[in-house]
Structure formats: C-alpha cells, structure tokens
C-alpha cells in the first residue's frame, strides 16, 4: 500500500510535459513547408521571366530581320535605278561604260585601234 503510494507520487513527480516539444516540431514542419512553397514560387517566377526574355529576344530578332529585309529591298531599288541610269545615259557609249567598269574593278581600259 505504502509502496504503491510512493510509486504514484513518483510518477506524478517524474511526468514530463511533452507538449512543448510537439509544438516545436510543428513549428519546424510549418517553416519547412513555407520554405518549399517559397522555392516553388521562386522557380516559377524564374521560368516566367525566362519566357518573357525569350519573347523579347524573338521580337528583337524579328525586328532586326525586318530592318535587314527593308535595307536589302532599298539597296535592290538603288541598284536597279543605277542600272537604268547607266543604260539611259551610256547605253550607246561603250567608252564611258568601260570607264565606269574600270573605276569599279580597277581594270585598265584599252581602247581599240
């Protein structure tokens, strides 16, 4: 009877409060979940930014190609105009045409005897 009483008293005295530990574990778990959510959000933001940058690159390349095509068309027009002018002005003047060709190529002109 006496021993049983001592045992009960001992149990009551030795009993530990584990609720604090559980609370801490819960806090750690919550922090970990928050961390995972943050990482996912950061990676998603990175993906979106990369997509946006790719779109910007494609837009810029299309712009450059457009500028290039326009410049080529402009140059072709210029060339056609120059050809027309040369034909109109010196179509029946081979000497002048030869002089122009010589100026463009560096070849010397030899006049026929």
């Amino acid at each position: 009877m006496l021993a049983s009483g001592a045992f009960v008293v001992g149990l009551l005295l030795l009993r530990k409060d584990r609720s604090g530990l559980l609370k801490q574990l819960e806090e750690i778990r919550t922090a970990h979940e928050k961390e995972i959510k943050q990482i996912n959000a950061i990676r998603e933001a990175e993906r979106l930014k990369n997509e946006e940058d790719l779109f910007k690159l494609q837009k810029r390349l299309a712009e450059v190609q457009k500028q290039y095509d326009e410049a080529k068309i402009e140059l072709d027009k210029k060339k056609k105009k120059e050809i027309e002018d040369l034909i109109t002005q010196f179509g029946d003047d081979p000497v002048e045409l030869a002089e122009r060709l010589s100026a463009a190529t560096g070849f010397r002109v030899i006049l026929p005897e």
Partner: protein, 173 residues
Amino acid sequence: MKKFISILTLLSLLNTTAANAQEKKPSSLAMVEKLVPEVPRTEKDLGAAISPLKKFQASPFTGVLLSPLAAATLIADLNARNEEMSIEIDKAKKEAEAKYVYEKSIVQNQCTADKDILTARIESNSIHIKSLEKVVNDEIEAKSDPVVWGLIGLAIGVVSAAATASVITAATQ
C-alpha cells in the same frame, strides 16, 4: 647490215618510250592546264583589262564582250558591294547583341532565383535552429534536482521506519 638494223630498232624503241613519258603527265597538272584558257601566242599578255567596242569593231584582244545591260549590272553590283556588306554586318551585329542580352538576362534570372532560394533556406534553417535550441533549453530546465529527490527518499525512509516500528510495537504488546 645486222648491226645497223639493231641500232635503228633500239632508237625507235627509245623514241616511243620518251613519247609515252611525255604523254603521262600528273593528273592535277593536266586539270590545271585544261582550266587555264589558252592565250593565242600572237597576242601579248595585257593583264586585267577591258576594252570598249562598237559592233563590228575589231577587238584589241581575245576576251568576253558584255552587253550594256550586263556591264551596267556589273557596275551597279560592284558599287553596292560596300553597302551590302555593311547591311550584312549590321544584321549580324544586332543579332549577336540581342542574343547576348538574352543570355545575360537568363543568367541573371538564375542567379536571382538561387539567391532567393538560399535566403529562404537560411530563414527556414534559423527557425529550425531556434526551435531546437528551445527544446534543448526546456530539457535542461526540466532536469530533476538530486537534493529534492534525496529529501523525498529520506522522508519515505523515515515514514517506513516509523510505520515498521509502530507495527512491531503493536505486535509485541
């Protein structure tokens, strides 16, 4: 007479061998000779030259005659050469610049994301550390005091002894 015939035979054999050797030229050399136009020996080499000609006019050298349109096209093409090159260079430069900006941006995005992730991890780890520290501190604080336990043991002993003594006294009486 026999000697003379043998000398003739020998000479003819030597002649045919030499002719065969001349015919067997290296193939690459033969190809080059085929590609290079043969300049008539009567003409002197004038180098790179052009000559303006009218129809039926005698030409000063053997060469290619261009129509006015062909000559004009050639002149226009050659004159536009620099501008054409400039357009190509400009395009290549702009494309390279755009790609550089894109690649730089991708690396920057990755670095920013990595930094943010590391910050989040540090934050989470500091919470973890704080929690564990609290647990450890609680455990240290909850540690039992040996003096208290000694006193409890002593009290139980005294009570037990007193109870035993009272039981024995009661039994003897």
